[in-house]
């Protein structure tokens, strides 16, 4: 894989909801390309029929009862850091045009 293009970096930024300055685009283009070139070594590894591992201690489907419990933390505690709240809900700009 060759070096990322300017357009590649802008696409990644768009996916990640980031706005980059021209300087940042150039900087990240070089740095991310270098890191991707480093991880490229994995392409050559023999993995035969191995399965990927996502959970290392072997836990599976940890569930709990779906019931309401009382905890010390109140909705007020949880909403105190919200930039804009109203009636115990988070207020955002309109989503649908």
């Amino acid at each position: 894989m060759g070096k990322l293009t300017r357009e590649d970096v802008l696409k990644l930024a768009r996916l990640a909801k980031l706005e980059l300055t021209d300087g940042e685009v150039e900087k990240f283009r070089g740095e991310i390309s270098e890191i991707l070139a480093y991880v490229e070594q994995l392409q050559k590894v023999e993995v035969d029929d191995l399965e990927p591992t996502y959970q290392v201690t072997g836990l599976k489907n940890v569930t709990r009862e779906d019931e309401v419990k009382d905890y010390k933390t109140t909705p007020k505690d949880l909403l105190k850091n919200v930039p804009a709240a109203q009636d115990n809900q988070i207020k955002v700009k309109r989503v649908l045009a």
């Binding site: 990640a16 270098e34 991880v39 994995l42 591992t53 201690t57 505690d77 919200v82 955002v92 700009k93």
Partner: protein
């Protein structure tokens, strides 16, 4: 020499009213103040800490049981939610975040009488190996102010070595407890994945994040782990604590089989090698059997990590969108602009870099080639560790390829910075416990020795490390 002594002796002093919790907290706050120029601390929790100290002193005066850590001050890395100060993860996007509840680890320590006195500096969101990625300021190494303390728990490691508190908490996603412990000359313990609840700790890479202590001795680390370990209803990845607990370190080295990790010694810095070799000779003399072990896929671990970690980072950092909490950009015309402006102005360079790498390796067309492939090589690593542990009880190697480097030395080269973690990341990918203990010095700078055990053999590892520490004193 430390002003604190062991944690258990401090607790005894407080319980027998030889010293008060208040004196200990004041002593801790004073030491923090005297060492401000190392920039290890983001904020103290002074008001709340003193109030809690009074409460513990009152309990003891009334003959109540104040707990196994009664009156012991500690410092938490600032990615733990702890009352008494804001929780920032050393990031601008969380600056001013008013702690709404506490991490399970903090709750458990407090339930046994420990007192959080301050929040320590870190690489923002724990992204880094030097604490230079803090959005606020870099921390200095206690042994040489021109050098880094390691990272990302650099503030916690420096704080312990500067005697600011008897112990500190850190998080270790790819080496972030062990590396700063090695660079600063502290003990750093990384438990088995899931042994300590991650609830209330700001997530970095959830499949490798663990919580552990930084201390002045293995015995202290074992006690702190013992208080924190075990299942938590708020973290579904937690595992049962070991039936024996973690504080029985009575066993000895005789007959223990230790595997030297060949791949960590190939091309190793000569001075670091000398220190580790000297330690190995002492272990042999003490009756341990030492053999060489090879795990051929080990050199791939860093590449695996730098796919999995950014993938999980990009997912975990998507919640910082300017709507729910944290920095929110003003004067925006619509929600999309609010997301973009809040994130672009709030995140530092390293967070942005990791988010974009994560977006890349998870995007359609690349997912199989990068993310799935990395998780498959991870299986290969797990198998090689299993194979190694079928022959030996513990694995041994250096914690880091060098001693602490100069501030600014690696900041313009992210890949070089990432290579600092080359000897620590595999442990996180495999989920096994590991510890870094001080093994010696090179030109006044500490070197860490890393011991690794199979999953859930945390007690055995601490026992082994305790004996090793005695030999190396």
């Amino acid at each position: 020499m430390s002003q604190w002594g062991s944690v258990s002796s401090l607790v005894k002093d407080v319980q027998t009213r030889k010293r008060t919790a208040k004196e200990l907290v004041q002593q801790s706050l004073k030491t923090i103040k005297e060492n401000e120029d190392y920039k290890a601390i983001i904020a103290t929790t002074e008001v709340r800490a003193l109030k809690r100290a009074d409460e513990i002193d009152r309990q003891i005066a009334q003959g109540e049981d104040a707990g196994r850590l009664a009156g012991v001050p500690f410092i938490a890395k600032d990615n733990f939610l702890a009352f008494g100060a804001d929780t920032t993860a050393a990031s601008n996007i969380l600056k001013g975040f008013d702690t709404p509840y506490q991490a399970t680890a903090i709750e458990r320590l407090e339930a046994e009488g420990a007192i959080c006195v301050a929040k320590a500096n870190l690489d923002a969101f724990a992204h880094g190996s030097s604490t230079e990625n803090s959005d606020f300021f870099a921390t200095h190494n206690p042994h040489d102010k021109t050098r880094v303390p390691g990272g990302s728990s650099g503030g916690s490691a420096a704080a312990v070595v500067l005697d600011m508190a008897p112990f500190a908490l850190g998080t270790d996603t790819g080496g972030s407890i062990r590396l700063p412990a090695a660079f600063c000359g502290a003990v750093g313990y990384k438990p088995t994945y899931g042994l300590v609840s991650r609830y209330g700790v700001i997530a970095m890479a959830s499949s490798t994040d663990v919580i552990g202590p930084l201390t002045r001795s293995v015995e202290d680390a074992a006690l702190v782990l013992d208080v924190m370990a075990g299942k938590d209803e708020f973290d579904s990845t937690t595992i049962e604590r070991g039936k024996e607990g973690y504080t029985d370190l009575a066993g000895n080295l005789k007959g223990k089989k230790i595997g030297l990790i060949k791949e960590y010694f190939d091309g190793l810095d000569e001075d670091v090698k000398k220190v580790i070799d000297a330690a190995t000779i002492k272990l042999k003399k003490a009756g341990a059997e030492v053999v060489e072990v090879s795990m051929p896929s080990l050199p791939l671990a860093l590449a695996v990590y730098y796919i999995i970690c950014p993938a999980e980072v990009s997912s975990n950092l998507s919640r910082y969108d300017g709507q729910r909490f944290g920095f929110s950009a003003k004067d925006v015309k619509d929600i999309d602009e609010s997301y973009k402006k809040s994130r672009s102005q709030g995140f530092g360079s390293e967070a942005k870099r990791r988010i974009m790498i994560g977006a890349y390796v998870l995007s359609s067309g690349y997912y199989d080639a990068y993310y799935k492939r990395a998780q498959t090589v991870r299986t290969k690593l797990i198998n090689e560790f299993k194979e190694a542990f079928s022959n030996v009880d513990f694995l041994l190697g250096p914690t880091a390829p060098s001693t602490a480097f100069k501030i600014g030395q690696n900041t313009d080269d992210p890949l070089k910075m990432y290579l600092t973690d080359i000897m620590t990341v595999a442990v996180n990918l495999v989920g096994v416990p590991a510890i870094s203990v001080p093994a010696g010095e090179i030109s006044g700078l500490p070197v860490g020795l890393q011991l690794i055990a199979p999953q859930k053999k945390d007690r055995e590892l601490l026992e082994m490390a305790d004996k090793t520490e005695e030999l190396l004193k």
